[in-house]
């Protein structure tokens, strides 16, 4: 418990609230803009209108973009989660210096600026003839998602008491049972968090898609990007509102899970 005398003063707290407001208020302002009754970005003048939300349903581009993003995100997340979890488990089991080197290499896609990867993957996909295909985008996104899974699963494993597994072995549990009954339940929240981050990284990914997709694959970020650069019509505000709500729900789910884990 923090002492009264060391609590931040009212002035400091007020300033911090101003910063938080700077972060949050702009996100809230898109809501009225998405409900405007005019055809350009503006506040509603005479009344609220759902026209721009309806336009999302009837427009030929938005729904397929949403669907493609979901499919690409889910498959890329599946690959990243399976490969990443196995890798984190393997490094944990092997231990030693080689494991820390492997982990250091595996997180590179999360720290090297994605534009660098975009150049490399663009050239390779030309050679492999998978430019502008589901395979190409899914594979690239899976690479970019793996680091998150490895980081979160490794973190979950670092708090794991190895003696639990030894005790299970002593009681006669085989390797598969030990993995299923002891290790997996403990790292499950880490796998879930990693998968969530991997999905979000694919869901939001723009720069690589700008390079390796053009006509057949138009993900949601690509569609928003085109919209911002072409005509800035209020249907983008409607998409923005939906995405902000979606992010808030995911955040809430993640926080609730974390609390349950701690409590």
């Amino acid at each position: 418990m923090v002492d009264q005398g060391t609590r931040p003063t009212f002035g400091v707290q007020a300033l911090a609230v101003v910063v938080a407001a700077f972060l949050l208020v702009p996100l809230i302002f898109v809501l009225p803009i998405s409900l405007t009754d005019r055809s350009y970005l503006s506040l509603p003048s005479e009344g609220l209108s759902l026209a721009h939300y309806k336009a999302l349903w009837s427009d030929a581009a938005w729904l397929p973009a949403f669907g493609q993003s979901v499919v690409i995100g889910l498959v890329a997340t599946l690959i990243a989660t399976v490969a990443g979890t196995l890798c984190a488990l393997g490094c944990w089991r092997a231990g030693g210096r080689i494991s820390s080197s492997i982990r250091a290499i595996m997180v590179l896609p999360a720290v090297i600026p994605p534009v660098v990867y975009a150049l490399g993957v663009y050239r390779l996909w030309i050679d492999l003839k998978i430019l502008d295909t589901y395979t190409g985008v899914i594979l690239a996104h899976a690479m970019m998602g793996m680091p998150y899974v490895i980081i979160t699963v490794s973190a979950a494993l670092s708090g794991f008491d190895r003696r639990l597994e030894a005790a299970a072995a002593g009681l006669g549990a085989g390797p598969v049972d030990r993995l299923r009954l002891i290790v997996l339940p403990i790292i499950a929240p880490g796998i879930f968090s990693g998968a969530l981050f991997a999905f979000l990284s694919s869901w939001d990914e723009l720069i690589v898609v700008l390079f390796i997709a053009s006509r057949n694959i138009l993900t949601l970020p690509r569609q928003i990007w085109d919209g911002i650069n072409e005509d800035l019509d209020p249907s983008i505000a409607a998409v923005a509102v939906l995405l902000i709500v979606f992010s808030a729900l995911l955040l809430f789910a993640d926080q609730t899970l974390r609390k349950r884990r701690q409590g």
């Binding site: 898109v30 595996m106 660098v116 899976a142 793996m146 072995a169 911002i228």
Partner: protein, 281 residues
């Protein structure tokens, strides 16, 4: 555990193999190959790197990039510090509110957040309309498609990232030290300056380096809010490849990005380990 140590290592490496193989084939190989173009295209040699010293266009991009990085860091880290400080030692309700203030923007994509700033800052945007209706200005201010707009968007994007390492470092500070200083008669300000602030220094360094790394190679926000007039390095590289295409120059600048990022990462690893930061002073 029933297994010998080397058997455990072998199983372990076997489990890690698929991910490593994927990374090698579909990440490290293509990235390495494209970076090598910087000394191969259009002719073998260091000609592309000479452009760092001779091309005024590239120098303008690099200096704009450096300027935006430094200004963004200089604004985002102190503001992030304020938030982390209140989250760490503020009351419970404050803490929850501020924590969501940090986390929610973190979960909203850069694209959406940049778009939000377009709606606020453009010529007929809410900020200009508001200022005009108050009579503060006659003509709309140019708030976007320039460096100002990029910096507003970047600061907004980076504050949450600035907060995270600060929170980790502040959580490791024994708050009783501050209370002891207060108990011995130090003023609030003095207890902060002489006890809390020095203890949080590794967090400040980590936060500043993290924001620098992320800002340096960032594409989306500068591309949208800079409107092509203020160009940072990632966007310049994209133009080199997708518009011109000049692979040699693009690959050279990509190499610069990678080298600077790795140098900053090595610097970061000196501050990031919490056990290290506690013994720092």
């Amino acid at each position: 555990m029933g297994e010998t140590k080397s058997a455990a290592a072998r199983t372990g490496l076997l489990l890690a193999a698929p991910a490593l193989l994927l990374l090698l084939l579909f990440y490290l190989f293509p990235v390495g190959r494209v970076l090598s173009l910087s000394v191969l295209e259009p002719t073998p040699g260091l000609g592309n790197y000479e452009m760092l010293f001779t091309s005024s266009g590239i120098q303008a991009v690099l200096s704009a990039t450096a300027r935006i990085c430094l200004i963004t860091t200089a604004i985002a880290v102190p503001l992030g510090y304020l938030m982390a400080y209140v989250i760490t030692i503020g009351s419970r309700s404050m803490r929850t509110f501020m924590l969501y203030g940090v986390l929610l923007p973190l979960w909203v994509s850069a694209l959406v957040r940049s778009f939000v700033w377009v709606t606020l800052l453009q010529r007929r945007g809410l900020v200009n309309q508001f200022l005009q209706s108050l009579g503060v200005i006659d003509q709309p201010l140019p708030l976007i498609w320039n460096e100002f707009g990029v910096i507003v968007g970047m600061v907004h994007y980076m504050i949450p990232y600035a907060v995270l390492p600060l929170l980790a470092s502040m959580a490791a500070i024994d708050i009783r030290l501050v209370e002891a200083a207060r108990g011995m008669g130090a003023s609030r300000g003095r207890a902060f300056r002489e006890v809390f602030l020095p203890l949080s220094m590794p967090g400040i360094a980590a936060s500043a380096i993290l924001v620098l790394i992320l800002t340096f190679g960032f594409y989306t926000t500068p591309a949208i809010l800079g409107g092509g007039r203020t160009m940072m390095i990632a966007q310049y590289i994209t133009t080199q490849i997708l518009v011109l295409p000049r692979w040699g120059v693009g690959a050279m600048l990509a190499t610069v990005l990678v080298v600077v990022t790795i140098a900053l990462l090595l610097l970061l690893s000196r501050f990031f380990d919490p056990s290290h930061s506690r013994t720092e002073r």
